[in-house]
């Protein structure tokens, strides 16, 4: 590598914002503005505490139908906390207390009428580290359907095949459906976990840093998959990889110390952020 090339690379570093900008996902329609569908999730003045730690402060955010929404921000800013609030998984931590509303298709998820089982059936989740059950690949994917009372082998077979195809892993596992899911590579396990989430035909899929434990090739596969899935599902994906947010998402929310600093079209966040902190973060000056 020559000196001048090195210098160019350095320049790229400081101007990462614009550099990424060239590969930011572009709006499909002619006007250039991404049109939003029905709101799926609306957070209204939402606050969350872990005991005394005010982890989420006055969050107001709307995620819309069939969009890929990315949540970015430095470590510890509340990304995981927020995405886990959306399906109330955050309540598994006993010291959690919340205030304000989160509406899922118009209904407050903290309302007594809403059971967590019902909410989580509609709002599926993929976790940071692949977490298949210690069961066969087939039983992993069929788990959700069985939990919801589907017993017929024929229907389960169809669900398993459709979900594994949907998660782009059918060809790799179709000959070993009865083998333990732990025999797969990390990237394959994560796609089985995505298939498992698809199998209950959710409305929304939440993903908390789904590729952070994976190698670059598996990461690319999952990113492609996320794009594919957005045709049929609304997706919220947490990432602290900014290139990933830029590549896959339509809208991006920037979280910082428990606040939403900026929420806009992904191209706007990366190409002309309104807030100085957003600009600093997406250009790699901190994080």
């Amino acid at each position: 590598m020559t000196d001048s090339q090195l210098k160019e690379d350095k320049n790229m570093g400081t101007e990462m914002g614009t550099e990424i900008g060239t590969e930011v996902k572009q709006a499909d329609n002619a006007s250039g503005i991404i049109e939003s569908g029905q709101p799926v999730f609306q957070a209204k003045d939402f606050n969350l505490w872990y005991a005394d730690n005010h982890a989420l402060q006055n969050i107001n955010l709307t995620f819309s139908e069939n969009e890929i929404s990315a949540i970015i921000g430095p470590s510890g800013c509340g990304k995981s906390t927020f995405i886990k609030a959306l399906n109330r998984m955050v309540e598994l931590v006993p010291i959690v207390r919340t205030e304000g509303h989160i509406l899922y298709r118009g209904d407050n998820i903290f309302d007594k009428k809403m059971t967590v089982e019902e909410l989580r059936t509609k709002v599926g989740m993929v976790f940071q580290n692949p977490n298949p059950f210690p069961k066969s690949i087939y039983d992993n994917v069929a788990y959700g359907a069985r939990v919801h009372g589907i017993k017929k082998k024929k229907i389960l077979d169809q669900i398993v095949e459709k979900s594994l195809r949907g998660a782009a892993i059918w060809d790799e596992v179709k000959d070993r459906l009865n083998q333990n899911a732990y025999g797969l590579s990390g990237g394959q396990q994560q796609r089985v976990c995505i298939a498992r989430a698809l199998a209950i035909e959710p409305d929304v899929i939440l993903m908390d840093e789904p590729t952070s434990a994976l190698d670059p090739i598996s990461t690319t596969k999952i990113e492609d998959l996320i794009q594919q899935l957005s045709k049929d599902y609304s997706i919220v994906v947490v990432t602290h990889n900014m290139q990933q947010a830029a590549r896959v998402s339509d809208k991006t929310a920037f979280f910082y110390q428990g606040y939403v600093v900026e929420h806009d079209d992904t191209s706007a966040i990366f190409e002309n952020p309104k807030d100085k902190r957003t600009e600093d973060y997406v250009s790699g000056r901190f994080g």
Binding site: M89, L92, V147, R196, A197
Partner: protein, 292 residues
Amino acid sequence: MQLVDKDQVSKSLGGRLIRNNIMKFLFLLCTLVGLVVLVTLIVDTVLDGWNYLTWDFLTSFSSSRPENAGVYGAIIGSIWLMAVTAPVSIILSVGTAMYLEEYAPENRLTDFIKINISNLAGVPSVVFGLLGLTIFVRQLALGNSVLAAGLTLSLMILPVIVVSSQEAIRSVPSTVREASVGMGATKWQTVSRIILPAAIPGIITGIILALSRAIGETAPLVVLGVPVSLLVTPNSALDTFQALPMQIYNWVKMPQEEFQYLTAAGIIILLIILFLMNSVAIYIRNKFSKRY
């Protein structure tokens, strides 16, 4: 500047290696002392009792004449005892462990119960015998029946199974639990379909080890007043019975020398039972233990 003096380093090397070998030898010696004593005991017992392990010995009731005495009543009685102890202790303790690990709210009371269950595991067995005598034998008027003794032994091994089951349940990673409840499964579905199947090898191992402790236990049975000589086997759990460790304990006290050989033969049978139970536990642990 060199802070590490290479000469000094190489000089001290010899001493360090010698000390290392001395410690290795000392630890080996500790192991051998225990092992030699144990092997001597077993060999001595087997030599004493081997010739008395006959078919007649296995099929005869106890008797005051050593040439007629056998362990039939004691073996059948011990089987009855386990038939009560096993289901009672398993249901109560696995249920307790499940509640404490999966359902109980996290508060001081739960912590207090958890700590004291482990403490209970250390209570001497004779204390459980006294408890059983007061509650089951006297107050519930069960007498020295299979049921009273079985309930007493169940209480005795309850904390042991609870603690080992808790450990087995806790070793199922929380990420797997989250995956299940994250799909809309209820707590019970998660427990019954994911957690129990994953924890069951550990739970069963704990159960077998606890039961093998119960089957060899003598002190509580002495306190409960279990008879040492009986010419019938129980027809129901409310009948009185004999037990293998009690039979052995009784023979040890006999004056005639021949009874000492019968004692050895009885011990061999108990050892064989314990050995088999432990083998099953080890087999289950190795065969079914999950990896994550």
